[in-house]
Amino acid sequence: MKYTDQHEWIRLEGDIGTVGITEYAAQQLGDVVFTELPSIGKILTKGAEAAVVESVKAASEIYAPVSGEVIEINAALGAQPELVNSDPFGAGWFFKLKVSNSTELNELMDESIYKAFTENH
């Protein structure tokens, strides 16, 4: 699993990357009440706005950790947006990307660096 400095995570299986937000981010946001997910087939470039997560407090943008095509979205979040809080690394995932350039993953943080990053924030 890799992490961005905007608190997204991506898990790569083959050339398919699953994207979500970290537990740290979910805690900072508080109760998530709505998510706006990208449409399937959308081509995202690394860093592009991909989704929106709304908590009771505020709306936040989710950015694509790497470039690729959206091939699946987590429909369960429609009825249960609270999955983002209760299981951010599992059932609370946002979307899956067919990664177009896997070398972009090398620019992301691994777990120990991300952990240090959040501790300094």
Partner: protein
């Protein structure tokens, strides 16, 4: 992920006397009106909101201002600023009021309690400085103004509030809504800003810390942060200064005509009376409304309100998720012509039109205490 909320500049924040208690309870602290205040505790805003609606929530509102105005001319001086009928108030009665400006706008909204020698005013934290300058200017040396230094102010709100507080102060149980009593150096009123039955308590810091600890020992009570305070008052359809009320919104536009005493409407004699009386007689060009949306994205402050022909006819002043109703709600200002209950409008959220219905306020019915006498 990036939060769209503004990150506050680093400033030295004031702390309320209950700060150490918030820290011990694991509160997430934020900057609010110059104070470091709890936005929520570890269970989160929605759980706190629900707890207040179903049991009792304890809020630290010590950042607000408490002022006392005394002297023979206090009533007359305050009636020039506040359009309530202060003359008819008996000791212990409370009113919701506004500090008026010559323009008809509102400097702040407040609670006024008639006391033996004058009035107790509770004002918004964010408006303390401007309110005090305004009072000093208008009152000059014709009345005495005392500002409570470092008070503890608590709000205990919810259906179990009376039962719980009566264990410490038995007499509170049958206090009518919008009345206050003095207990030694402390003042307790049956009031609040959540739409629930409840109390507000004003006391010195030492007593306030002790009472807070005692109340928190009761398993019916949970501490509640500013996040749930906002969602509760939004559901209750209550104005928040800086959002529904500003220096350029009149109390009539804000739907607060009820806060202007009957005698005052006839006599005038307060700042901005010409404008207010004109609006009472001839109507206003915009009005505060409630907006209800189906589950989905949340309208936030500043979002524009659109009618089917594409014209922008208003804006959202506060919006959020309603934990009680399970969908987004908002308040806003709209041109009078479109302030029709059950009519459909659109709210622009991130460039997309979201359907919304104009609804009556409050969103969630108030459940204020009704004493037996009132039931007749």
């Amino acid at each position: 992920m990036q939060n769209t909320a503004q990150v506050a500049n680093t400033v030295i924040l004031q702390k309320t006397p209950l700060h150490a208690i918030h820290a011990r309870l694991g509160a997430k602290m934020v900057s609010f009106a110059g104070y470091e205040m709890p936005i929520n505790y570890p269970t989160g805003i929605v759980a706190e909101h629900q707890h207040t609606r179903h049991s009792a929530g304890l809020f630290d509102v010590s950042h607000m201002g408490a002022l006392e105005i005394t002297g023979d001319q206090a009533t007359q001086l305050l009636e020039n600023l506040i359009p309530c009928d202060l003359k008819e108030m008996s000791i212990g009665q409370m009113r919701y009021g506004v500090f008026m400006l010559e323009s008809g706008g509102v400097l702040d909204d407040l609670l006024i309690t008639r006391q033996k020698n004058g009035y107790l005013l509770v004002i918004n934290a964010s408006r303390k400085d401007v309110d005090i300058s305004y009072l000093k200017y208008h009152i000059s040396n014709h009345a005495d103004l005392k500002v409570w230094e470092e008070p503890v102010m608590l709000a205990l709100q919810g259906p179990k509030a009376a039962q719980v507080l009566s264990q410490l102060y038995p007499e509170v149980i049958d206090m009518p809504f919008m009345t206050a009593k003095t207990f030694g150096t402390s003042r307790i009123s049956r009031s609040g800003y959540t739409g629930e039955d409840g109390f507000e308590i004003l006391m010195n810091a030492i007593d306030g810390i002790a009472i807070t600890e005692q109340l928190l020992n009761d398993s019916n009570i949970k501490p509640i942060g500013l996040g749930a305070r906002d969602s509760l008052r939004l559901e209750a359809g209550l104005c928040l200064y800086g959002h529904e009320l500003t220096e350029s919104i009149t109390p009539i536009e804000a739907g607060l005509a009820w806060a202007i005493g009957k005698r005052r409407r006839q006599e005038g004699g307060f700042l901005g009376a010409d404008k207010i009386m004109n609006q009472l007689n001839n109507g206003t060009i915009r009005r505060r409304i409630g907006l209800s949306l189906l589950p989905g994205s949340i309208p936030r402050e500043g979002a524009e309100i659109q009618i089917p022909n594409g014209n922008i006819v208003g804006y959202v002043s506060s919006g959020g998720h309603s934990p009680t109703l399970g969908h987004p709600i908002a308040m806003g200002y709209i041109e009078e012509t479109y302030a029709i209950q059950e009519s459909e409008v659109a709210i622009l959220i991130r460039g997309q039109e979201r359907k919304a219905k104009v609804v009556k306020l409050p969103f969630v019915p108030h459940s204020y205490f009704k004493s037996k006498k009132e039931d007749k």
